[in-house]
C-alpha cells in the first residue's frame, strides 16, 4: 500500500517536472516556430504553426548578421582571452599558493577583494585610458578580459593547489627542473580539472558579453552579441527576420551545450560553490 503511494507520488512529481520543463523551453519554441513564418503570417497570429515554411528569413538574417564574420570574431576573442586567462591565472595561483609569506597573502587578498568592484565602476576611466593609448581594439579587449577575469580564476587555482603536494615540486627541482619547467610539466597538467572549470566559467561570460565589446570594438569587428544588437535595431517590427537572426545567434551555444553538457554543469557548480 505504502509502496504504491510512493510510486504515485513520484509519478505526479515527474509530470509536474515535465510541465515546468515545457514552460521553460516555450520561449525558444515560439522563437523558432515564428522564425519560419512570413511577415503576414506572424501578423495574423504567433501561436499556431507556420502556414508555409519560409527559409528565406534565415538566409536574409544570416547575410545581414554577417554571421560567419561575427562568429569568427567571437571565437577569436573568446578563445584568446580564455587561453591567456588560464595560463596566467594558473601561474599566479601556483606562485601564491607556494609562497606562504605575508606579502603573498596580501597580494592574494587584493585579487579577491577586486571582485567586489562592479564593471560599471571602472568602465569610464578604463575606456578613457585605453582610448588615449589607442588600444580600443580586439587586442585591448583581450587584455581587459584578463584583468577582469583573473581574480576569480586565481581564486579557483589557489584553492586547487592545496590538493597538490609540495613534494611534487621538490622532486622535480631535485631532478634539475627550473620553476617554469616544474610548473609547465608537473603542476599545470595536475590542474587540468580546475582549468576546465575556469575555462567554462570564462567562456560563458566572455562569449555573451555585450557592454564591454560595445565600448571597445568598432562595428567591423563586432562579436555576435554586438552584431545582434545592431541587427535587432534595424529590424524592429519585422519579427520574422529578427527571430530568424536570434535563432542563428544561439545555435553555437546550443551545439556547445550539447557536446559539453556535463562539464558545463559541473564547472558552473564548482565555480559557484567554492
Amino acid at each position: 500500500m505504502k509502496k504504491n503511494n510512493e510510486k504515485r507520488n513520484l509519478l505526479s512529481i515527474e509530470i509536474l517536472g515535465l510541465l515546468l520543463g515545457l514552460i521553460w523551453i516555450a520561449p525558444f519554441y515560439l522563437m523558432i516556430v515564428n522564425a519560419f513564418k512570413s511577415k503576414r503570417d506572424i501578423f495574423s497570429g504567433v501561436l499556431g504553426f507556420p502556414e508555409e515554411i519560409v527559409f528565406a528569413n534565415f538566409v536574409e538574417a544570416f547575410i545581414d548578421l554577417e554571421f560567419l564574420k561575427s562568429l569568427f570574431n567571437s571565437v577569436l576573442i573568446t578563445g584568446l582571452s580564455i587561453a591567456i586567462i588560464i595560463l596566467f591565472s594558473s601561474m599566479a595561483g601556483y606562485a601564491l599558493a607556494r609562497n606562504k609569506s605575508k606579502l603573498s597573502g596580501i597580494i592574494f587578498f587584493i585579487f579577491v577583494a577586486a571582485m567586489l568592484i562592479p564593471f560599471q565602476s571602472v568602465m569610464i576611466p578604463l575606456v578613457s585610458i585605453f582610448g588615449q593609448a589607442d588600444m580600443l581594439n580586439a587586442g585591448g579587449l583581450i587584455f581587459m578580459y584578463l584583468g577582469f577575469g583573473c581574480s576569480l580564476s586565481i581564486f579557483l587555482y589557489h584553492g586547487a593547489m592545496t590538493g597538490i603536494s609540495k613534494s611534487m615540486d621538490e622532486a622535480a627541482i631535485i631532478d634539475g627542473a627550473n620553476r617554469f619547467q616544474t610548473f609547465w610539466y608537473i603542476i599545470f597538467p595536475l590542474l587540468k580539472p580546475i582549468s576546465v572549470t575556469v575555462g567554462i566559467l570564462n567562456v560563458i561570460w566572455i562569449w555573451n558579453d555585450y557592454l564591454l565589446p560595445s565600448l571597445v570594438l568598432s562595428e567591423s569587428n563586432a562579436t555576435i552579441p554586438l552584431k545582434m544588437f545592431y541587427f535587432f535595431g534595424q529590424y524592429t517590427k519585422q519579427w520574422h527576420l529578427a527571430l530568424a537572426g536570434l535563432t542563428i545567434a544561439i545555435i553555437p551555444v546550443i551545439v556547445g551545450y550539447f557536446f559539453a553538457q556535463k562539464q558545463i554543469i559541473n564547472g558552473v557548480s564548482e565555480g559557484a560553490v567554492k
Binding site: N99, Q120, L126, I129, L146, G147
Partner: protein, 286 residues
Amino acid sequence: MQNRSLAFWLFLTPVILGLGIVVVIPFFYGLFYSFTDWNGITANEFLGFENYIKLFQENEFMSSIWFTVKFAVVTVILLNIMGLGLALLVTRNIKSSNLLRTVFFMPNLIGGLILGFIWQFIFISVFGDIAGLTGIEGLNGWLSTTNTGFWGLVILTAWQMAGYIMIIYIAYLENIPKELIEAAKIDGESSFQRFKNITFPLVAPAFTVSMFLTLSMAFKIYDQNLSLTNGGPFNSTQMVAMEIVRTAFSDNQMAYAQAKAVIFFLIVAVIAMTQVYYNKKREVEM
C-alpha cells in the same frame, strides 16, 4: 617560492599588470576625477563634492536606485525559492531528472541581450495574441508601463537564472548523507519534518552562496534591461547600471557619471560584505 625569488614575481607579472591596468588604476583614477569637471580626457577644475551633491538631487538617478533595489529584493527572493524548488524536484528519483536539469539550466548559457530580445517578442506579440484569444486585457501592452515592465524584467531574470541557483542547491542537496534521511524515515518523520530538520539546516550554506550571487547579479544587471525595455517608458524601468552608461556615453557627462559609478560601487560593496558577514556568523552559530 620566496618573496625575493625572481620566479615568484615573473609568475605574477601578467596578472598584476592585467588587474592593475584594467581594474585598480581605473578605479582610483575614476575616484579622483569624480571630484572634478573631467570630460573623459582632461579636467580643468576641482569641484569637491559638487557632483555627489547633484546626483542625490537628481530624480532620475534616485528613481533608478529605488527601481534597482525593488528589482533586487523581488528577484533574490523569487530566485532562491525557485532554485531550491527546482533542485528538490530534480533530485527526486524521477526518470527525467537529467533532462530537466539540462532544460532548466539552458537559458544561463545564452547572453542576457539575446534573451531580452526573445522575451520582447513573447511579451509584445505572444501576450498580445493570448489577450486577443482569451479576452484578458491585462496581457496587452506589457513593457509599455512601468509596472508591467518591472515584472517583465523579473520574469526574464527568474527564468534565466533559476537553473543556475538550482545547480548550487543540487550540489548541497547531494552532499546530504542518505543514512540521515533513512534514519529519519525509520523514526517515522514526515517528509515535511525531514525537510525542516535535516535538509534545510544542511542546505543553509547554499543560501550564503546564492543570496550573494543573486543580489550582486541583480544590482549589476544591464544587458537584459537594455534589450527588454531599454529603460522605457520614459526611463522609468532604467536600472543603475544603465543610468551610468547613459550619463557617460549618451550625455557625455563623464565626471558626473563617474560619481554615480562610485556610489554604485559603495552600494554593491556594502551589500556584499554585510551578506558575507551575517551568513558566516549564522553558520557558526548553527
